[in-house]
């Protein structure tokens, strides 16, 4: 019912709740990867396809939330952080989902199988990258607390420390990435050259999930630092 109360229309939807929800969905995409590669190693093609379908569904959900945020964040809103920073953060989160989708899509469309030379490296690498994503999501969950404390004070400092840890974790995933790349290059003469290129691309993409998670952390750092 209509009233003269301006308070009812003063508040926009909380972008931070939407951001948290979005990150949870993006993480769900990444969480499918270990199971996907396990199935690939076993040769269980139907499981591979099932996991790929999951990823595609989650990525669609992420896109929907992304659209919702964009639609409800006009420039006339007063936000506790820079609007651009917020949208960039969302963009980085979205890229996690997108790149996971690329990985799953390529694996299925090209009906790829894991080359022998990298079989022992692939799961540790994927697991390390997903760890980074998981920790990034934990940091994003702190957005509510950051809002309550005005993005400053002890809460902001502890989140800063978490982001430092995230940086270190991403470094570790980088090293795993180099390990698997090295293994691939050592094995490449025994492979179809086209496959080599595509596997290199896959390794890059998997590494990107960790990179984008780190970028999420860095955007958060901007939000804390800028006031």
């Amino acid at each position: 019912m209509k009233t003269t109360n301006p308070l009812g229309r003063l508040f926009g939807p909380n972008p931070f709740s939407l951001l948290k929800e979005h990150m949870r969905v993006a993480l769900s995409c990444a969480e499918e990867l270990p199971a996907l590669f396990e199935a690939l190693l076993k040769g269980d093609q139907s499981e591979v396809i099932r996991r790929k379908d999951n990823i595609f569904a989650f990525e669609q959900d992420a896109d929907d939330i992304h659209k919702k945020v964009r639609q409800h964040l006009p420039r006339t809103f007063l936000l506790p952080v820079n609007r651009r920073d917020l949208l960039d953060l969302l963009e980085m989160q979205d890229k996690i989902a997108d790149v996971t989708q690329d990985v799953a899509g390529l694996l299925v469309e090209r009906q790829m199988t894991v080359p022998d030379g990298i079989k022992e490296h692939i799961l540790p690498f994927v697991e390390e990258c997903v760890k980074v994503c998981r920790y990034g999501a934990t940091i994003v969950e702190e957005l509510d607390e950051l809002l309550e404390t005005g993005f400053s004070g002890p809460e902001a400092e502890s989140v800063s420390a978490m982001i430092d840890t995230l940086n270190e974790m991403e470094d570790v995933s980088d090293e795993r990435g180099m390990d698997i790349a090295r293994a691939l290059f050592n094995y490449e003469d025994q492979m179809n050259p086209v496959s080599v290129i595509f596997w290199h691309r896959l390794i890059e993409w998997i590494g990107d999930t960790a990179d984008y998670s780190e970028a999420v952390g860095n955007r958060l750092r901007l939000m804390i630092a800028s006031k």
């Binding site: 003269t4 109360n5 301006p6 308070l7 926009g12 007063l78 936000l79 509510d144 309550e148």
Partner: protein
Amino acid sequence: MEIIVQYGPWFIGLALLFGLYMTWGVGANDLANAMGTSVGAGALTVRQAIIIAAVFEFAGAVLAGGSVTSTIRKGIIEPSGLEANPEYLVYGMLAALLSAGFWLMIASQRGWPVSTTHSIVGALVGFGIVGIGVDSVNWGKIVSIVISWVASPMLGGFLAYMFMQSIRKLILNNPDPFEAAKKWGPYYIFLVGFVISLVTITKGLKHLDIDISMINGFLMSVLVGVITALAGGYLLRRAQRDLEAEKDYRFASVEKVFAPMMIFTACAMAFAHGSNDVANGIGPLAAIVSTVNSGGAILQESTLPIWILLVGGLGIVTGLVTMGYRVMRTIGKKITELTPTRGFCAELAAASTVVIASGTGLPVSTTHILVGAVMGVGLARGIGALDLRMIGKIVASWIITLPIAGVVAALLFFLFKGIFGG
């Protein structure tokens, strides 16, 4: 003179009718807006809000409403030009009541954020210019009133900002926020009791012929503050930590401490609202009653009869109970952003500002001050997203309300003049 004597009872009857209509509207809309914040934050049920509102709105009207009522009744229109035709004052006041009430009804149907206070003041100015003459309006007073309309939301915002920062420093940034909240909570509750009683005792009680010296007033306020703090402290000690909820949100237990604290700010809001907005309905009523009772002599110094304040309080509470119920229920869903910590800051800031304005006899808009206070919390980076266009809509509502209320009041003035003669 003769018209007053001839139609006196009619005028009083109409004045009561229109006055009650006006205060009913104030209760259904304005007060519901003010109490809705506490309901929305989950601190009160709608039923509890109604009970609190009934008691404290009444108290605010009777104990602290005299100053603003005086302003509305005799501070805006300079009645010296009316010596020959005192009935004009009656027509004008009736017109103002009807015009403001009517405008409020239209605006609330359309959802425009207009203020009852602005409507009454605009209506009075309109009647003054048209009915008597441009000089009949006390322009000095009008200027200070308009300045207060701009300054009061800003003051509310400033206070809310400071309160939010202090809560962060003392409570939220503490390693154990829950314990810090229980420790500092009573001090904030003290503030609620202290500020409200300070302004009321030192400024508001004059019309009840109770004169209290500054020092005694100060000490009494401290006492009231301490009593409320002790009552609050008792309630807070019963608040229990919710470890499950804390896993999702570290400050969940702090919010549980602030929820009962909002009961006190709800009382303060109702009291403050009563002190300022009851005047909208009964200021004109009081003017009409005193003019009729004195047989047409425009008295400047007559005191405000208590029964008029009681009528006003009754009207507001009736409005709240009949229609405000629905408003309060709906508003809660839209302001889920206003958690108890934030709602407490906004309400305390708004209530303090309104009571200060009431003490100085300035009629202000409680709702707009509350918006200002919420903006203050937003500026302290405490709210996810605030629509700044609302400021534009509120300013636009000022710009429309004043002339429309004025013109309608002028037209009604001529209508009454036509009906009753003079």
